[in-house]
Amino acid sequence: MKADSHPEGQLGVPAAVLHGRLLHVSRMATIGEMAAGVAHELNQPLTAIANYAQACRRLLARPDADPTDLQQALAEITAQAARAAEIIRRLRDLARSQHSERATTDINALVREMIELVESDARLHGVHVSLELTDGLPGVLVDVGQIQHVILNFVRNSIEALASQPSGGGRLSIRTSRPAAGEVEVAVIDNGPGLTPDVMARLFDPFFSTKESGTGMGLAISNTIARTHGGSVGYRPNQPSGACFYMLLPAPPAT
């Protein structure tokens, strides 16, 4: 890895590069919507296959079953299965084109880099943002755009929860820390209503959403990103109230 192209610490990143990263983040955000579209698209051939298979079962139960009917249904099942496979192949190609580029990164710099984006979103919803960044954290080997996407996802969830509170006075904080020797944590903490236990249990399930327009993919994708980095995402209630979403990333022991 060339040290000059990936300087440790991302401060002073040229505007064009930052812009590219933000584009990447927003592209990742649309993956959630895309996944819902793919689910709908896959549902079509599956519905057709199920219908043909169930019709075949009914036809076979009849003494006068016509083999040409059965052959036609089986040919259709084959065609619809091929269609489903084609949808999955296209999706896989798309995933491959979004290859990840990792560099050793200062997590605090990564957070500061996106703070403007977070603040403009928060301001729009009357939410106050603060940073609680711990100095001297070890660098983490990450794809900056992907990790920013996860944090942005946490932030958006918090802002939406805070904006739904009529009282106002919503506050959220992005906190970095080192809970144990081999890991770095970045957490998004708010003073909103927090989560009910039944929501907590299903939080990271794909397609689970408490929002009417939600695709239920945001946290599921965040989970996938964290895991491909050897880390994890999680939720804990904040004290005395509110929510705390966090991501743990592996880090070399501090030098």
Binding site: A36, A48, Q54, D69, E76, G216
Partner: protein, 208 residues
Amino acid sequence: MQDQPPTIYVVDDDEGVRNSVRFLLKSVGLTARTFASAREFLDGYQPRQPGCVVLDVRMPGMSGLELQEQLNLRGAVIPVIFITGHGDIPMAVDAMQHGAFDFLQKPFRDQDLIDRIQRALDRDARNRAALAQHDRIRGRFDSLTPREREVLTLMTRGKPNKVMAAELGVSQRTVEIHRARVMEKTGAASLAQLVRMVLDLESQDAAP
């Protein structure tokens, strides 16, 4: 009543899905006609043909909900079963509020679809029987002479024969004859039933 076999109109922009539904229905002896769009269906649909509609809620062009509205505007009585995708519950609720007969989520169990279609066909047959009954009754009332109609109006207002005779300027005997003709022509067995028929016809006229 069921002189014509019912037709199930399958409206879905996905060719694979609509053909598979037609095939499934054929396997249980039901006749289906398929349409690729709401517009195509509105052009090809025969209001006099008994049946029901199986409609995909999400379609390009006119959506399933808009089609339901068009049918409502045309005063169509045909029951509509909506097919929704995974997680389209708010849309399904919307469809039910717009007068849909039932809804089903994709992918569905064949028996669930067939049961719903059977119920929809039963409902359609009942609707059509009720409408035919109304038409018959209306035909009978239309056969009344102007004078008999006057007598009918007074009868439903509960006027005794003596009062009617005075109001119409005829003999009580003449009123009795008209009265008997009204009962005979409308086929009402009692004054109470006659009043109910008149109210039914009036409420039908008031409907859009």
